[in-house]
Assembly symmetry: none
Homo-oligomer: 218 residues x 4
DNA sequence: CATGAATGAGGATTCATTCAT
DNA sequence: CATGAATGAATCCTCATTCAT
């Protein structure tokens, strides 16, 4: 993964390192430009200007425009997946794992709004942009949710009649849409914690008023 | 609305009817082509060929390519919104209203998969495609969910600590993502009813195992 | 010539006459539209709208767009040439003939400013618009001036060292440019008579102060 | 002005010079193509082919097709105006100034027949081609004639009853029409000197046989 | 004859990509 | 490696012309 390379940059010859810097500079610029304009409306010259390199330089690091988008997906989403996997692996309680996932996702989206925009919008149409592109990283990411649910079902904290395949999609869809709108208009009103607790509540307990507590109180 | 005209087409002079037919023929063709290729990759000539008209004919009914997409949004989403509003208005129980909404949405997405694709993918990037475009129809559609939740909170069936603003987004996001993937890969495995009941369960009761078991253990 | 047909319109069946009316209606409309927009920027639909006929109707009277312009040239310029020739033929004094020519031209340009515009601008580029088009009518028109000058040279009123070929062009060029600008900006300041007398003065006596008159006065 | 740059091209860095060369190469090609086909019938690809560049290259130097024509007017007419002004400023005798103007104009038209064609034909319709375009350079050019005439009137060599506004137009019109036809058909018959002397004669002395009237009066 | 909806050829323009410097 | 001028394929859109009614 790319961010790792930079950690070991000192092991590489200077010229190579410079090149790597330029690679990531272009990726960052592309994220910014794609977020603002969308893939198709974005111009190579826009990305070049943002990255402060010449148009032609981009083609020393990427094969074509599609390759830039693909790299954004693979590398940037890869980072999030990796980080999330690392944090979750240390835990064993499905409840906490789910909470970590939500918090991680919301924080990542909040931290890099441009990347959020690209993931939420460009990733959806990626198979039309890049023919036969399979978002393995992304599938892997959503798969984490499925695994947590399955684990929870085994340990008995989650219902057996819940379909993990559908649930993981519903869960991610809710999280994605909330964070999408959050970035656009909800932001000023709600904190990560509020959003996070609401989502967790929805998924764990639903929105129905709990009638059982009444009997419990008696 | 457009669909209405076609019902009363026999009341109109022939020339008018012909024109209306061509308008909707182009819209249908556009939905199909946009679904397959995406807005930017779609060519006017693709739409023309699909609609079995000449390229130039399209410009007798639409100002430009963007106008076609906009018309798809306004007219087709408008139809769904109208139909959903009609059905829900007749009900007063929030629970049933929500069930109707889900069923309606899934059926609409299943019925016209191409339109589903366009809504799920092109609508998201619409503000980048059509500058300053506000999806009023779409906002209205999601607003329905918010109103149902608020109503349920007043009648006491839904918790008061649920934020309708966030909940409506989470709810729609879940529904949208599930129907999206459903159209792509889950379809063969699950029926509308299964998906529908799962979504309702998530939202009403959550995925947690019911706490009744606790009292049962005692 | 077309204008001739209209003189004998009563000899034709009514339906034909109606058609002739439409022909001239289109010509008039074309003159107006060509004057305002120029041949290339003018649209067939503009002419149709101006003539209050359908686009397709134009093609019942003209082969194509170029044919309309050609007809404007042939018919409208033809009228002016014919009228001018008629008036001049009655005269024998070159001086008066020249005065009539100038007056006729200026009056014609003043009377139909749109036609003036078309002649002054579109006629110049006519051989680029209509391949191999020879403005015979126009050549004939300018030829009148040449003939007058030659006649004047024979009767001794005009110098023998004047080249009629060059002179007729210089004369027409002066008249054309003055009437062109006159229509645009000089109009409010000068009458036909003023312009006319200035042009005659230039050509007959030049702009030099007459040194001979000084000795003649003594 | 552009022509100056080329004179000092060797003082500029190579890359800059190259660009300037391409700019003027396109201008020259455009003059040639516009002269042959006229602005509207000319194709960008024609100009590109003539300039031996790719179609797209033209848009590195000009905003659009209209901008090319505008540049031709401004730069090329500018050159002629500048050269004429320079030569005339050194003189004080209106008679000689007028002779220089005629000679300069005819030589310029003879030297670059394509430019002559463009000025004589495209400039006339320029306000229809380029909306709100004001030929300031051209107005300036014709203004020179007016100033010469006014000067001559002050020094008494030209009549006071001559209207400079009308006279400058008549003069330019004559010169323009003669040089226009000269380029087309008179060329083989007459030299610059012949044309020049004829025009001067017309304007200074007119075409009337003068001295006889004096003797006739005595 | 008249209409005007439909046609589709044609062209200006854009922009990803290349390559000489 | 880096540049950015040059390329030219690709496409939206216009509008003269046709033809079914």
């Amino acid at each position: 993964m790319f961010s790792d390379f930079s950690l070991f940059g000192f092991e590489q010859p200077f010229s190579k390192m410079k090149a790597e810097n330029k690679h990531s500079k272009i990726i960052s610029a592309a994220v910014k430009v794609f977020a603002k304009k969308g893939f198709f409306t974005a111009r190579i010259s826009d990305i070049a200007k943002e990255a402060k390199v010449a148009d032609g330089t981009i083609y020393l690091y990427f094969n074509n425009k599609y390759d830039i988008l693909l790299s954004v997906f693979e590398e940037e989403i890869g980072k999030i997946v990796k980080k999330t996997v690392n944090l979750i692996e240390k835990e064993s309680d499905p409840q906490i794992m789910l909470e970590i996932f939500i918090a991680q996702h919301l924080l990542a989206m909040k931290k890099n709004k441009n990347l959020a925009e690209v993931i939420q919008i460009e990733l959806r149409q990626s198979n039309k942009v890049i023919k036969n592109y399979r978002n393995n990283k992304f599938t892997e990411y959503i798969g984490i949710i499925g695994e947590i649910i399955e684990k929870g079902q085994k340990t008995g904290v989650y219902r057996d009649d819940v379909n993990p395949e559908i649930a993981k999609r519903a869960f991610f869809g809710a999280l994605d849409e909330v964070s999408r709108v959050w970035n656009v208009s909800l932001e000023t009103h709600y904190t990560v914690e509020e959003i996070s607790s609401q989502i967790i509540q929805f998924f764990l307990s639903g929105i129905s008023s709990p009638p059982l507590q009444v009997s419990g109180k008696s």
